[in-house]
Symmetry: C2
Subunit: 219 residues, 2 copies
Amino acid sequence: MRSIEFCFDYISPYAYLSWTQARSLGERQGVEVIPRPLLFAGLLSAHGTRGPAEVPAKKQYMLRDVLRKAHALGVDIEFPPAHPFNPLLALRVTCAAPNLDAQRKLIDGLFSAAWREQRALDDVATVREVVERANLDANALLEAAASDRVKATLRSHTEEAIAQGIFGVPTWVADGELFWGVDSHPLLEAHLEGRAELDADKVARWLSRPSSASRKNTP
Amino acid sequence: MRSIEFCFDYISPYAYLSWTQARSLGERQGVEVIPRPLLFAGLLSAHGTRGPAEVPAKKQYMLRDVLRKAHALGVDIEFPPAHPFNPLLALRVTCAAPNLDAQRKLIDGLFSAAWREQRALDDVATVREVVERANLDANALLEAAASDRVKATLRSHTEEAIAQGIFGVPTWVADGELFWGVDSHPLLEAHLEGRAELDADKVARWLSRPSSASRKNTP
């Protein structure tokens, strides 16, 4: 079965919105969706950029945009008690899932805790409760989440994403092509259906063009 | 007649794509589209951010994304001979247009020169030719473009945009609400049709939430 990757961090409301569409998208396209938890902050550091929550005007815009998109998708959304929050524990527990089915249940539960139930994902009690609700062994998963093996898994997901040119979440990867943001779903589906033409020579030609202006004080 | 603003800079291929849809969008919605030329670099400096062309991974992504979106919209696009380029002359000439109809013709011609005909907009000969093709007085417009009055107009567009929280181009403004990017057209149209609910109390509540984590080395 053809598979596509869903690269995400719980910190992003757009990743939550995108994940709510993942099952129906996968079924419609006949593809398996493979989740890739990663640390968004790691992408920002690698590319020297700031996340939308770190730029006041972008944060103001994002909240309104997220509410509008949720309404358009018919998805319930609430803001977590604090944001940005530290997503490391939730990401590591997700990496520690014993199989793909358990992992999907954890992702459903963790996204829902943060973005519907207004729970703090940096609180181990919240994460434990989500794991238990998914009928998984909470002690075993929390212990695994603290292991060097699982920490290394999350790090390698983040490093691989950086190497692939991923700079934001959510990013879908299909046949090596990136599709960033919940707005990219139509183009992702067009790609999967063979309707998204991309002239690789044109891209290469464009990339080779010089710049003729630059700003003096780029942050 | 109800009016909406189209805030843009010729430097952005997304602004070009968005402008190709402006006429049909305005007619469909029965609104007048008022162009607001502004300096994207001024937005970046004000918000301390970097544009997509200033972040290599984003530039790589943007070129592919722009090509895919152009294909989906059925719009022809080519990359300018150099990019980023200095858009000041083109923006000022646009601000100097004697009326709205002339301004729209200039915008059509300048976007087309940069993003279809692969012409350099920082070359006065290109701008002169576009003005002449629009049957406008090139000497008068180029002289006006160099005047303090027109320079101040462009500056004030940019400053007003910053004050409104605009951080990118294109941004549409309808009833004080911002819609960023060509991806935002469906939400803009939903807003104009009264279908885009937005719970202002929820936004205010969300904005009041604290953060519980921050990165050490934000650029």
